[in-house]
Symmetry: C4
Subunit: 215 residues, 4 copies
């Protein structure tokens, strides 16, 4: 099992680049979201006093901005926690990580779609599907890493591993469950925006589940 030092070094360098690419994609996705926020145009014959009204009219854009920023932050936080104890990798882990990054880069697009089609249950569902996919890929990443302690070298105890398996399943589950809710809201209340309520529930739910399991 003793591994030559130089191969260990190479592997750690390779792992470092996976994290560098990931942090780059997370950082740009976080920053790129801001391009969706529209600066209101000043119409002729209007005074500057109309600005608060124009900005207030964009409230749903700001709302979606904060939601998407918070979700990318949540996914990055999981990614950072998962890879903290990782000591190796293979082609499948790289592929799984690139799939996660694919859905991260799509978040600015689906946020813009949600902004423009706020009343469409299809736009709401597609946003939820993409976020749910990110969460699913991350949960699979953790399962793959910890399967038979493949890449974590037995340092984390099995209880901690299992706890993170459960907590990582909650956010994607919430997003997938929000899809029928969006359709129900659309047909019965003429608005799919009820999905938002359960999306925002991710933050307190995650908090309480983590507290419960951390005891």
């Amino acid at each position: 099992m003793a591994e030559p030092d130089e191969f260990r070094e190479a592997r750690e360098k390779g792992l470092g680049r996976i994290l560098a690419l990931s942090d780059g994609v997370f950082a740009f996705a976080l920053t790129l979201l801001v391009l969706d926020l529209v600066v209101p145009a000043l119409a002729p014959n209007q005074g500057v006093s109309v600005l608060p009204g124009l900005l207030a009219g964009e409230w749903s854009g700001f709302f979606n901005y904060f939601l998407s920023f918070a979700m990318i932050a949540v996914w990055w936080n999981n990614h950072q926690r998962f890879f903290e104890y990782v000591k190796g990798y293979d082609g499948s882990l790289k592929a799984l990580n690139l799939l996660t990054l694919l859905t991260i880069t799509l978040i600015p697009f689906f946020t813009k779609l949600l902004d423009a089609w706020i009343a469409s249950p299809v736009a709401v569902s597609l946003y939820a599907v993409n976020q749910g996919a990110t969460g699913t890929f991350l949960a699979l990443t953790w399962r793959y890493i910890t399967k038979d302690h493949r890449f974590i070298e037995g340092r984390l105890d099995q209880k901690a591993v299992n706890r993170m398996r459960i907590t990582s399943t909650i956010p994607p589950l919430v997003f997938f469950l929000s899809i029928p809710l969006a359709y129900a809201g659309f047909f019965f209340l003429s608005t799919p925006q009820v999905a938002w309520i359960i999306w925002y529930a991710i933050f307190p739910i995650s908090y309480f589940v983590r507290r419960k399991y951390d005891r």
Copy 2:
């Protein structure tokens, strides 16, 4: 207190990723600002000799560009100085850091808003609120890190810690103080742009305070 080597390694790796994400966001925000600078269009029947006049007409855009670039540089400089001696982290420090990054990513948006609504005290105030929030989150970060020498392992003496607490409070304070000034300027001089004068005062004030305390 002796910590296994492997856990120490994991923690340093985790910290490295917080810095990598932060540097990515800072670098991207610095570069994204340039998209706000507008290349003047050549109207038909105009010679190229109109270019200097057109560029001069955009002076406030260039002015705001340099201000925002300088401020992101100031915030990055504080962030870099604070984290130089940091040896650990927890979830709250990550959350505080993500809040700082949120306000950093908003700087290009508020710069664009300021460009388009230069005569509106609301646009000036929102720019100041966002910059003030960045400075506040950074000042809180330093307090959180140094509280009971939580994450700095007793290497920095208390005097240096206190000095950085004071100097980190000045820039957000200046931004918050500029808000009533912008309104006063708007009502008495019909222009909120007096706020700029005190914004630019941040650079000499910081310089003198740092000199005084460094003695």
Copy 3:
């Protein structure tokens, strides 16, 4: 041949920066692709139920998005595998790497060109030339690194080196071969899109070749 420690350190730091620049460009190119995806506009007098139809009409845009994302991922994967064992560099390796990055940054442009001119064999060919150039520069990079074990310090056996020479030649070859195919498709079937079929063949071909050689 014994090298002072401090020079070795400097060289590794220099190499680290080549990788940092490369990962930044790869991450940014991956994320920038999303700007090519267009959010459909809601026409007046239309209900939100038209969204699925509008998105379906953009299928080729999504198709090209996934292709370009997958190809940047493939090129990054090769780059990561090549540099894992690299221990030094010179000016020519830096130049070769910058040429690779040049073609990577052009991928979002050629993807947009392909989207807008899907029926033009010229657009299809230019996309293929750029992708083929990326693959060629990467294959040359591997040759340059491994020539007389220049920068890999004899750790990799010659068999592994040769295998990677062969596998790295396949993707650019496929792209260059797709160019006459695009023209044939254009003249005989009035569509250059047959090139796509062979582009997508890169993934299974690479997989089987790698399996065969890994035995």
Copy 4:
């Protein structure tokens, strides 16, 4: 002179972040340039066969793209070579580095200006001033680092230091010299584009100077 290990560590971490921010800015500036390349629009009643003509009509845009990419690569190359042997830093070095990054982020803007106002000696001069400023800040950075071997710990011999002082002065000098040339071209030949010829001379001149001094 003996420095506690922990302070040395902190300083190297701080230096690492300066390089991380710089590489991020260089990488984004390289990638952001591509947004200046315009995909030609297909006019109604036109066949796809017009594409080559439309692309050829944008030749100067591609030309400027390659020039700016090559120059950012040259500046990054100098930056990487300078910092390879650097072992410390202070506030002035950080400030000098941020000024360099400021001019780097402006390159995409001045490239766009050059594209749109190709016949204006003002646009040509502004492009040259910005590039010349980048080169000047980099040359000053090298002087500052090596002054009394301030941050290089006596490892590089004075001859190598002096050689890099000379070679780093050439590119900014060429850019500043191109400004009167652009005006001369404009007044005598009605085109400021003669400046391009001397800009492109940077590459062979640098090559020969380096060869001569490396002997």
